[in-house]
């Protein structure tokens, strides 16, 4: 099902949604693109993607899980108030939406993380097709079409007169039903597909081959030492990664009360696996190998998807230019 809307009307529509939901859209803050509460006035047009992935809107960098109070020797644990306010995020990219779908099964399963799952279920995902291949990205190698996706409730493509929307879910349909949207044809949707600026002639690597070879090269210590030589363990690749989800549990305490939090952690840090007398990943090359092998093989063995969407954030923002694309090319060789 396809719908059409002008640029002005889309803004009005989103602004109107603010009455019943929290509306989030990309904004430029201190020179960086980020997801922020929509001001109701302007939608960014020059934006490619945010520096931080939207994962933090679902898996918060710091999230209170429960609190406690001790009074006169007795201790009481209290549950944080549950939030079920609706939320709409506009402007999400296909890579980041796929990342959210990749994370979902991790937080489902026998032990459901209600915090993540509730954030997901209370949010409508409105995607926006890319027109430019981001610097450092390799989404197409990862099997993601930046202009086509089923990971959203509604996916928008820009057209000369505004936007053409593909309505994917019932929730999306409900939202666009009685509003500024007009019926559009599949033909219009197809016409709104842009020639992506800056695509590659041929893929950098074959994903199937990477998946198989990463397991094969796992025991090759020299290979991984060579690959990871310039890594400085800063962990920025994991913090900016839309699929990295490792976390720590930590306590914050004040007199008579405290809270336990879930906070982001990183396999790039030596402390991540440090035990009392032993650390299985003390050496840097082991940690780098773990990150690549986990994303491109181990995660797949558990959840049947690769834990990378090729957004390229780790490539662009690595302070020592350790380019994951080059690593994968070497792995696949």
């Amino acid at each position: 099902m396809y719908r059409r809307i002008t640029r002005e009307n889309l803004k009005k529509w989103l602004a109107g949604l603010k009455a019943e939901a929290e509306v989030v859209a990309p904004a430029k803050v201190d020179g960086l693109f980020t997801y922020q509460e929509f001001n109701g006035r302007e939608l960014l047009r020059s934006f490619q993607n945010t520096r931080l992935p939207p994962k933090g809107l679902f898996l918060e960098s710091l999230r209170v899980l429960f609190g406690w109070k001790s009074q006169g020797g007795s201790l009481r644990v209290n549950i944080p108030s549950s939030f079920n306010g609706q939320r709409v995020i506009f402007g999400l990219r296909a890579c980041d939406a796929r990342a959210l779908r990749t994370l979902e099964p991790v937080f489902r399963g026998d032990y459901q993380d209600v915090f993540f799952l509730q954030n997901l279920s209370r949010t409508l995902l409105l995607g926006l097709a890319c027109r430019v291949q981001c610097e450092g990205s390799f989404c197409t190698e990862m099997g993601i079409d930046p202009q086509e996706s089923v990971d959203f409730d509604i996916f928008f493509r820009e057209s000369p007169a505004g936007y053409i929307a593909k309505v994917i879910t019932d929730k999306g349909n409900e939202l666009t039903g009685e509003s500024e949207f007009e019926e559009a044809s599949e033909e219009e949707w197809k016409l709104a597909r842009w020639q992506i600026r800056g695509p590659r002639e041929k893929p950098l690597f074959d994903l199937e081959r990477v998946k198989a070879k990463v397991l094969e090269s796992f025991p090759d210590e020299d290979f991984w030492k060579h690959i990871s030589a310039k890594c400085i363990n800063c962990g920025v690749c994991t913090y900016l990664c839309p699929t990295c989800h490792c976390f720590d549990l930590c306590d914050l305490q004040m007199p008579g009360q405290g809270v336990r939090c879930r906070c982001w952690d990183s396999c790039a840090f030596p402390n991540f696996t440090k035990m009392a007398v032993h650390n299985p990943r003390e050496e840097k090359w082991r940690r780098y190998r773990q990150r690549v092998s986990h994303k491109f093989n181990f995660f797949h063995q558990n959840f049947q998807t690769i834990a990378c969407v090729g957004c390229g954030r780790c490539v662009v923002y690595c302070p020592v230019n350790l380019d994951l694309r080059e690593v994968l090319v070497k792995v696949a060789r």
Binding site: Q118, R122, F247, L249, C267, M275, P280, R281, S293
Partner: protein, 285 residues
């Protein structure tokens, strides 16, 4: 937009139950065993676990740490766990007194394969605090003695002062249906047991692999050499079981740190047969 209440199941997997410490037994200079009971008695009535499983224990304000349940599922009036003082949470636990409240989440992980041990000669090889998970299984087996054949327990520590669970060691050595061997790396003038490293004593007592199963827990270095000795004695990899030690936080395969190859030690372990371990992609544990 319809308002949906989406707190699925409404259950917070990170929230611990409150437990009261009812007894503290000093084992060695740096190790204590805690006996705990659910503050909410009804929880205690429905709680169940199997030998080998572990739990997450909280000292509120200091954090959470992972220990196996060292008591037996056949003795459910309280739970026991044993803690060596090595870091922040363990030090905080050591500061606590009887009557204090801690947090408890669990049980997590898999368990020792009782079905595979039934009808077999059993060999338990433990070192130091590594006796804790074995002790749960040993009590379990002894409480159901007729289902098993010969039982041999080999336990070692660095010195006589470092022996944990001395009350159990004494009871087992008095038990006519158990062959109990205790050894220390370095003895003293009062020591009457064996002196020598566990793997060496193991080869000395030379248990037969015929119709036998071996279960071993202890420090990584002891495990490594014990596995070699067992192999030398003729035990096949499917006859040998051990527990893997890995840093854990969540206990259910989400936080990521105990990942070894496709396996999460907390979710898929901590109990593995040597056969399974041999097939691991990685040796990082």
């Amino acid at each position: 937009m319809n308002q949906r209440n989406e707190f699925p199941e409404g259950k917070n997997i990170y929230q611990p139950h409150l437990m009261e410490i009812i007894k503290i037994i000093p084992e060695t200079g740096d190790t204590k065993t805690f006996h705990i009971q659910f503050v909410e008695a009804s929880l205690g009535e429905t709680f169940s676990f199997l030998s080998g499983q572990f739990a997450e224990y909280s000292v509120f304000g200091e954090g959470e740490a992972t220990f196996c349940i060292s008591s037996s599922p056949t003795r459910m009036d309280h739970l026991e766990f044993s803690v060596k003082r090595v870091g922040r949470v363990t030090s905080a636990l050591h500061q606590l007194n009887e009557g204090d409240i801690i947090g408890f989440r669990g049980p997590y992980g898999n368990h020792f394969p009782l079905d595979k041990l039934k009808g077999k000669n059993l060999l338990f090889v433990g070192g130091g605090i590594g006796l804790a998970p074995l002790r749960s299984l040993i009590h379990n087996v002894l409480d159901d003695r007729s289902n098993y054949q010969d039982i041999t327990i080999l336990y070692g520590a660095r010195s006589p002062q470092d022996l944990c669970f001395k009350y159990d060691l004494e009871a087992w050595s008095r038990n006519p249906l158990v062959k109990m061997v205790t050894t220390v790396d370095v003895g003293d003038k009062d020591w009457k047991g064996k002196v020598g490293l566990v793997p060496i004593v193991l080869e000395e007592i030379c248990p037969s692999p015929n119709g036998a199963m071996a279960v071993t827990c202890g420090p990584p270095i002891m495990i490594r050499y014990t596995l070699k000795s067992l192999e030398k004695l003729g035990f096949t990899p499917s006859q040998v079981w051990t527990t893997l030690e890995m840093k854990m936080k969540c206990g259910f395969g989400k936080c990521g740190r105990c990942n070894v190859g496709p396996i999460y030690v907390c979710r898929d372990g901590p109990v593995f047969s040597l056969e399974e371990i041999r097939n691991f992609v990685s040796d990082e544990f």
